[in-house]
């Protein structure tokens, strides 16, 4: 018995000191190309964030450009857009997260209550179509509805005697419009997560509930919703972690680039600001500035993911992403 234990221990040691075998080298060589590509396209740009602390000059390149310390950050914090950007990004995204999750869960539960599998499949297919469209096509559709002169919505309002509204110059309407567009695009795919989780519920639970005389509503409250809570937490963490990364396509093309500035008040978010400043280049050190803004966004994102994850784990050890 003792001898056996000893040999097992020895095996463990030899295993640890084991030389890298030929087959291991083959495995390493297999992943060499992808690892190098990730280094080039993901890691080198990470080192490039030093531009955030520099005054970037085209002729000098990343390394040779002069250091400016925290000036780029200072410029951003002191500029008029700072408050606007943070407010728009966080509020719009918070609106999308809350309403998006609510509708995805609602649709998933209703789909689950639908007994005919054939119609469930059909409705799912019909709800997913927007997922297959690009934001550009979505922008054309939104335009068809909201166009001030020909748009469908204005005609509908006209039937009720309401005068034509030029939606592309009404910033206050856009948080609502974008929320609807965001739900429209994502609800079909988002409800899949919840639906898949509901399908895994043990059906005997429902039978037991029925015998106990629980009605449909009670079943949803006491069986369906508790099953979804871990998933809601995980997806919620991921979404809150991304709250500073606004969907560029939604905020840029669907608003038609903020309808050339008319809508910036409510639709100018960090990602669109970064892109515009970068493209425009009229600000002296636009590369340094936009990199600084992007860096801030990334860092705040990491902090948010870690914090929400930690908080979720405090509530329940099983919850949380990592």
């Amino acid at each position: 018995m003792k001898a056996k234990k000893k040999s097992a221990l020895q095996l463990k040691i030899t295993n640890k000191k084991r030389k890298i075998s030929l087959s291991d080298w083959q495995l390493y060589s297999l992943c060499a190309i992808p690892v190098i590509m990730i280094f080039i396209f993901n890691y080198i740009p990470m080192f490039g964030v030093v531009i955030a602390f520099k005054n970037y000059k085209f002729n000098l390149g990343i390394l040779e450009s002069p250091w400016v310390g925290l000036k780029n950050f200072e410029f951003f914090f002191k500029s008029d857009v700072f408050f606007q950007l943070v407010r728009n990004t966080v509020l719009n995204n918070a609106l999308f997260i809350v309403t998006g999750m609510f509708f995805a869960i609602l649709v998933a539960i209703l789909l689950f209550e639908l007994k005919s599998r054939r119609s469930t499949k059909m409705f799912q297919t019909l709800m997913i179509t927007p997922h297959f469209m690009s934001w550009v096509v979505a922008a054309y559709m939104v335009y068809a509805i909201l166009n001030p002169t020909y748009g469908y919505l204005n005609q509908l309002l006209g039937d009720f005697g309401i005068e034509h509204i030029d939606w592309y110059s009404k910033p206050n309407a856009w948080p609502v419009i974008l929320t609807i567009v965001s739900i429209w695009k994502h609800v079909g795919m988002d409800c899949v997560y919840y639906y898949a989780s509901l399908m895994s519920i043990d059906t005997s639970l429902f039978e037991a509930a029925e015998i106990d005389g629980a009605n449909r509503f009670q079943r949803i409250i006491h069986i369906v919703l508790p099953t979804l809570i871990p998933l809601i937490t995980i997806l919620g963490i991921m979404k809150i972690g991304n709250i500073f990364a606004a969907d560029f396509g939604l905020f840029y093309t669907v608003t038609q680039d903020g309808a050339n500035g008319n809508l910036y008040e409510t639709t100018n978010v960090i990602s669109t600001y970064v892109f515009r400043t970068f493209k425009d280049g009229s600000l002296g050190n636009s590369y340094g500035l936009t990199t600084a803004v992007g860096l801030l966004q990334s860092v705040v994102g990491i902090i948010l993911v870690c914090t929400t994850n930690w908080a979720a784990k405090r509530v329940d050890k099983e919850l949380g992403l990592f």
Binding site: V35, V136, Y140, N260
Partner: protein, 292 residues
């Protein structure tokens, strides 16, 4: 009890029919506008039923297919190449990571995971891709950056881990190299996950418009979606000009109905084809949501 249930099911079905109708309504409006007569549209606006049905926008597009056909060619090329290359590269890194005995496996895992947490952002990436690698205004800019995504690797790794280790061990006893095991056993056994990831990559490339927005200035290399986007941008630019109407005529800007027809021509084929693969997209989500 039973009757009450029937009524509930019928009501629920009706709710879903209305909901699905609402979700697909914008696409119908687009088709209807593209089938309208430009003058009628200018007078009455968008209608649910085009009266009269008029195919002239489509005839115009098919008579002058140059740009759109070219964009189709470019988009199809880089989508297919991206799909094949990305799936291959993803599998090449996912397979070693699925082998539990491999030393340094956790380091590579973290190396990948970190790219999900942090990224250089727009400008540094642009500088590397355009100024150092000179990939701008080439078709490779659509393909190479982001060819290996950590998310896809983890998804494929999870699938590979499910392949029984005995199969691999027995092949090794027979003297097969890891390359041979990878090519002749792992890949053929992993068709479901390869199809899922391949289709997800294809869809995202097919709908890619912002790569061209940042890196492409040469119209011959415009992707399909960016072509649509650039038309919209041109018109928005012209609208700011006081002589917009005259300039639009002079520059031969496509009319409202033609633009809508172009949007249908761009989105239509994908919308017809992708739903057939819905199963794979749904699977991709649920597999990807597995922890670790």
């Amino acid at each position: 009890m039973r009757k009450h249930n029937m009524v509930f099911q019928i009501v629920l079905t009706c709710i879903f029919i209305v909901f699905c109708f609402m979700i697909n309504f914008p696409f119908w409006l687009l088709i209807s506008a593209s089938l309208s007569d430009a003058n009628v549209l200018a007078q009455q606006g968008y209608q649910i039923w085009p009266k009269p049905v008029d195919f002239s926008s489509y005839i115009y597009i098919f008579k002058n297919p140059g740009q759109i056909l070219n964009a189709y060619g470019v988009t199809f090329t880089f989508s297919v190449v991206s799909m094949i290359l990305s799936v291959l590269l993803t599998a090449m890194i996912a397979y070693p990571l699925s082998r539990k005995h491999l030393r340094g496996r956790n380091i590579i895992n973290f190396y990948l995971y970190f790219t999900m947490l942090f990224s250089g952002g727009l400008v540094p990436t642009y500088l590397v891709v355009a100024k150092y690698l000179h990939l701008d205004d080439t078709i490779w800019v659509y393909i190479l950056p982001g060819a290996v995504s950590a998310w896809n690797v983890f998804m494929m790794r999870t699938f590979f881990s499910g392949i029984p280790g005995e199969i691999i061990e027995s092949a090794k006893v027979d003297g097969a190299s890891e390359y041979k095991i990878f090519a002749t056993m792992i890949i053929p056994l992993s068709k479901p996950v390869i199809a899922t990831i391949g289709l997800m990559i294809f869809l995202s490339k097919w709908n890619d418009w912002n790569t061209a927005l940042i890196y492409i200035t040469e119209p011959k290399l415009y992707s399909l979606q960016y072509l649509l986007q650039s038309i919209m941008e041109d018109i928005n630019m012209l609208k700011q000009n006081p002589d917009a109407a005259a300039m639009m005529q002079e520059m031969n800007v496509p009319s409202e109905t033609i633009r809508m027809a172009m949007a249908v021509v761009v989105a239509g084929p994908a919308l017809v084809v992708f739903p057939f693969f819905q199963k794979y997209f749904v699977k991709g989500l649920t597999v990807g949501s597995v922890k670790g």
